[in-house]
Amino acid sequence: MALKRNGFSAAARLALTATVLLVTACAHTVQVDGEYPEPVGEQYPLNVGYYLSEGFREFTYHEDSEDRDEWNINTGRAQQNLFQTVLGAMFTESIPLSSYPQELPDNIELVIVPEVRELQFTMPRETRVNIFEVWIKYDMYAYDKNGEQVANWVITAYGKTPTAFLKSREAALGQAINVALRDAGATLYTGFERVPELQALVASKQRALSMKDQPDGEAETTD
């Protein structure tokens, strides 16, 4: 009886392993890792907190449609690195927040919260163009220290990479995603001041700082 039970469990395990292998045979997994450089240029004169939610830090895009194989693309770690590096360098002070909206530091003027809206990709055989292409769309939210929304805007990032001899589809797609993430960082930095509400906020902070720097006498004569 014991032998029968052992034999059955071994057969069941074998069948289960075979099923798992068959099911995952057509699944592709891409783990995107990347280190990104800090932006070169002047910092915005703001004290900013940024909150990267767990969903953002562990973001995995899953696709399993009829006309495509199954794809699992994990961009969480890479986009966490990107936003930490870019947001950490583009303001006079940047503080990563482990929770939001609780326990905000006192000196925070703005809290930035990014969210992934969508990710799309195409393969060379689908477009008949010899490149892998990736689009990522981020919803960006900015709140004041009281939790009121100051602005929201969208960052659209695009990346492509040519097919390379002896390179897997996963590797090529990972490379295209890295290009798209660099593009997202570039748009985040260069496009920040193009958001009207944020432009006004930066301008008012700059005005306040220049007033503060002005000697008292000079301030009186200008008045």
Partner: protein, 220 residues
């Protein structure tokens, strides 16, 4: 003897490639000590991408500090100048570069690199035609392939040389390369590959060397 045989064998099994280089020069290159050259690929087109390995190949072939040419690698430069030389933000014209130089941090960093010339390479290598077929089979008696395949490749690259200090276009180079590869298979497939992109790279690097250091070209 073995070496000679090897060279003859390599020459025999390599497909033929023709390379045509055109040049338009507005001013002669003048690289002083400490000056460097950056070679960058254009990546803004939607239907092709200038291959990073082509840019790397031109840079490696051209880099010769003893001969007066110091090349900064593309990835190193683009990382150091992030985000101003990304596909979407890179200056497409000299006027845009001029505007970019209004950013003092960017200007300082470019000057620290000692950049004299920025060379933009735009183009790609594509397979234009292919024909033939090869079939392979495996059985208890062994395995083998039979058939014949052939394909044509074309490279078309244009290099624009920007003088960063004088803010002007110094000239343009064009490299067109064509080649046909063959693969006969009689039990074993024998690839006779035409190295089209590699030959375009070498031709362009040699011409850029003459362009940037004309004194070296007259000496040799």
């Amino acid at each position: 003897m073995v070496k000679v045989f090897f060279v003859i064998l390599v020459a025999a099994v390599t497909g033929c490639t023709t390379v045509v280089i055109d040049e338009y020069r507005r001013s002669d290159g003048e690289l002083a000590d400490g000056d460097s050259v950056v070679i960058l690929g254009r990546r803004h087109s939607s239907d092709y991408e200038t291959e990073p390995d082509l840019i790397d190949c031109v840079g490696r072939t051209l880099h010769n500090p003893d001969g007066g040419v110091t090349v900064i690698s593309e990835q190193h430069f683009v990382d150091a100048m992030y985000p101003w030389f990304e596909p979407r933000t890179a200056p497409l014209h000299l006027k845009s570069l001029d505007r970019l130089m209004e950013n003092s941090e960017v200007r300082k960093r470019l000057e620290a690199f000692g950049v004299k010339y920025i060379v933009w390479i735009d183009g790609s290598t594509e397979t234009t035609a292919s024909a033939g077929s090869i079939g392979c089979s495996i059985g208890t008696g062994g395995a083998g392939c039979f058939g014949f395949g052939t394909w044509d490749k074309e490279s078309d690259y244009e290099a624009s040389v920007w003088d960063f200090r004088d803010q002007e276009l110094s000239g343009k180079l064009n490299a067109d390369a064509k080649g046909t590869s063959y693969m006969p298979a009689i039990v074993i497939p024998i690839p006779l590959i035409a190295r089209v992109q590699n030959n375009a790279c070498k031709g362009m690097a040699a011409q850029l060397q003459q362009f940037l250091v004309p004194s070296q070209a007259t000496k040799s």
